[in-house]
């Protein structure tokens, strides 16, 4: 079974490795430059948080201008590229077999259809999740000097692109694509449906995690929201709600759990299509 999964997906695995290596290469390269520039800022006493010199603002502005491109290039692109890749892997998983009628062959070997589906889907999802984790680690690593230099205030703005979130993104997009492929039986429409569904669910899940978890509120004695916190804008001038830095990892885990649950639900729907629909 595992040999068959490997044989059917090894080309995709190779492409994903190339993609990951490219991403990591770019991120390391950008990080190296950003680190050098941050070292310059530090030497000038202009590091965010302990600005001691008066002429720092132009230096920080200059840093921001130079590294603003990382927001579209990595913060937005990494989860999106992972989702597109995962959808391209997931959509043909059932749909291509049905399209070329090889499902009649693969489902009549000595392995039951259920075992084939579960084995394949879980293995490929695990692989894509691992790829997502590596990408998330990359953005996390890249973000360090960028935050120091003031492009982003903390890890929070990249919440949906860093740490565990990209792993959840790729698994969810994959699961949606598998299910869409199983119902539509055509890979390309399934990719489109999966990506639209992914964007909607990813945004909704993110918003839910942001709004439904308990927040702290600023006290009158505070000078404002801590710089390493995630604010959730409300109209109130007093008692501004925010997620403190300590909530970063619990919220990452919650977000991942929500995405994985949605993915599992999509895979169950996909199984339903295989089990009940006529050949």
């Amino acid at each position: 079974m595992s040999w068959v999964i490997w044989r059917q997906h090894r080309a995709q695995a190779a492409w994903i490795l190339v993609l990951l290596a490219t991403m990591w290469g770019l991120m390391l390269w950008v990080r190296a430059h950003a680190s050098a520039d941050v070292a310059g800022l530090r030497a000038a006493g202009c590091l965010l948080g302990d600005i001691s010199q008066s002429g720092c603002q132009p230096l920080l502005d200059d840093f921001a201008v130079r590294y603003n491109f990382t927001i579209p290039a990595f913060e937005l692109a990494v989860p999106l590229i992972l989702a597109i890749t995962a959808a391209l892997v997931g959509a043909p998983l059932v749909a291509r077999e049905v399209e070329q009628r090889t499902h009649l062959v693969i489902w009549t070997q000595s392995v039951t259809r259920q075992r084939w589906y579960h084995g394949t889907v879980v293995t490929v999802a695990a692989g894509l999740g691992l790829a997502g984790l590596l990408a998330g680690a990359g953005t996390y690593y890249l973000q360090g000097p960028l935050s120091d230099g003031g492009v982003t205030s903390s890890r929070w703005p990249w919440f949906f692109s860093t740490a565990l979130a990209p792993a959840g993104a790729s698994v969810l997009a994959f699961a949606l694509a598998v299910a869409a492929g199983a119902w539509l039986r055509r890979p390309l429409p399934a990719v489109a449906v999966a990506l639209v569904g992914f964007l909607a669910l990813y945004a909704a899940a993110g918003r839910a995690v942001q709004t439904l978890t308990p927040v702290q509120h600023t006290l009158p004695s505070d000078r404002g929201v801590p710089s390493d916190a995630w604010t959730w804008p409300t109209g109130a001038a007093q008692a501004i709600p925010y997620h403190p830095a300590t909530q970063f990892w619990p919220l990452q885990l919650t977000f991942l759990a929500v995405l994985l649950t949605l993915a599992a639900a999509a895979l169950v729907l996909g199984w339903h299509a295989i089990r009940t629909r006529a050949l």
Binding site: M1, W3, V4, R7, Q8, Q100, R101, T102, L104, V105, I106, W107, T108, Q109, S110, V111, T112, R113, A278, L279
Partner: protein, 313 residues
């Protein structure tokens, strides 16, 4: 008598909750080692029957058993070759066989390799580069090396040119008989089947029109040829309502060249009347006769031949 490899009773499958029935009320038994031809026009339900037997479709009504259990519990013992031999076009032949080897505990690697080698197919060739006949052979090898007890071949001869068809047929049946498995195959080519199969199932409109051992079927049927208009104008003695022992049943009638030919199911004895020729039907005549038969539901009185003949189908 050994237990049947396949038996189904009252089997039916409906496509969708309100969709058309692909097969209804199908009752069949395939003995161990039997070679069964399932024939019928397109849309008769041949593929539905084979997919039910392969565990690809669930039975909507009735039961389908392979070696005494549901087909999905007997996947190891069932070898199914779908119509048109679908295979993964980008894989090499050896990878296709590798899939078989890794998904089937009873896989016979020696058989697979020898068969591919003896057919002159390179294991390194990609499926997309194979001819139609070669692809059909690879698909058949994938099924044979699984060492099944029941071989299900869906239109194995379709899409092969006449020369490839003859070569494939010979090799297919040699391999099937060597394997000792029971074979259930569908086809709409009748002429080539006579030498190789011992059971016949005629399907039309999703229903079994005729099922049985071919020798037995030929013994109990007669093709009777007489002058045009027979038998309405000149019923032979055996056609009288008085004939007993199961009597006889008129299956279908054809008019050709001023003669009327009827396929008749008969009891133990049949005395053809004067001016009539009676002969055992060929497989062709048997199949075509039953395909010409009016649908049983449309026949108010099957036992009275004359009412049928006055309003021929």
């Amino acid at each position: 008598m050994t237990a049947p490899v396949l038996d189904c009773a009252g089997l039916g499958h409906r496509y969708g909750r309100r969709g058309p029935w692909g097969l209804r009320d199908c009752t069949l038994t395939v003995p161990a080692g039997g070679v069964v031809a399932v024939v019928g026009p397109n849309g008769a339900g041949k593929t539905t029957l084979l997919h039910l037997a392969a565990g690809l479709l669930p039975a909507t009504e009735g039961t389908m058993r392979v070696a005494g259990a549901a087909p999905t519990q007997r996947l190891e013992q069932i070898g199914f070759a779908p119509q048109d031999a679908p295979l993964w076009p980008h894989l090499r032949v050896r990878d296709v066989l590798g899939i078989g080897a890794h998904l089937n505990p009873r896989w016979d690697a020696g058989l697979a390799d020898d068969r591919i080698a003896s057919l002159g197919i390179s294991p390194r060739a990609r499926v997309s580069a194979l001819s139609g006949g070669q692809r059909a052979q690879v698909a058949l090898t994938l099924v044979l090396a699984k060492r099944p007890e029941l071989l299900l071949l869906d239109e194995p001869l379709a899409n092969l040119d006449p020369i490839a068809r003859r070569a494939f047929l010979a090799s297919m049946f040699e391999a099937c008989i060597d394997s000792g498995a029971a074979v259930l195959f569908s086809s709409h080519v009748i002429a080539e089947l006579e030498r190789i199969c011992d059971h016949l199932v005629v399907l039309a409109g999703g229903r079994v029109r005729l099922a049985g051992e071919i020798d037995q079927l030929r013994r109990t049927h007669r093709v009777i040829t007489g002058p045009a208009g027979w038998p309405t104008t000149q019923p032979p003695a055996a056609l009288d309502a008085s004939s007993t022992d199961g009597g006889w049943q008129l299956i279908s009638v054809r008019q050709a060249a001023g003669r009327t030919t009827a396929l008749v199911r008969v009891g133990a004895h049949l005395l053809a009347g004067p001016g009539l020729d009676a002969a055992e039907p060929t497989l062709d005549e048997l199949v075509l006769g039953y395909l010409d038969q009016r649908h049983p539901d449309q026949e108010p009185s099957r036992q009275d031949p004359r009412s049928q003949l006055e309003a021929p189908a």
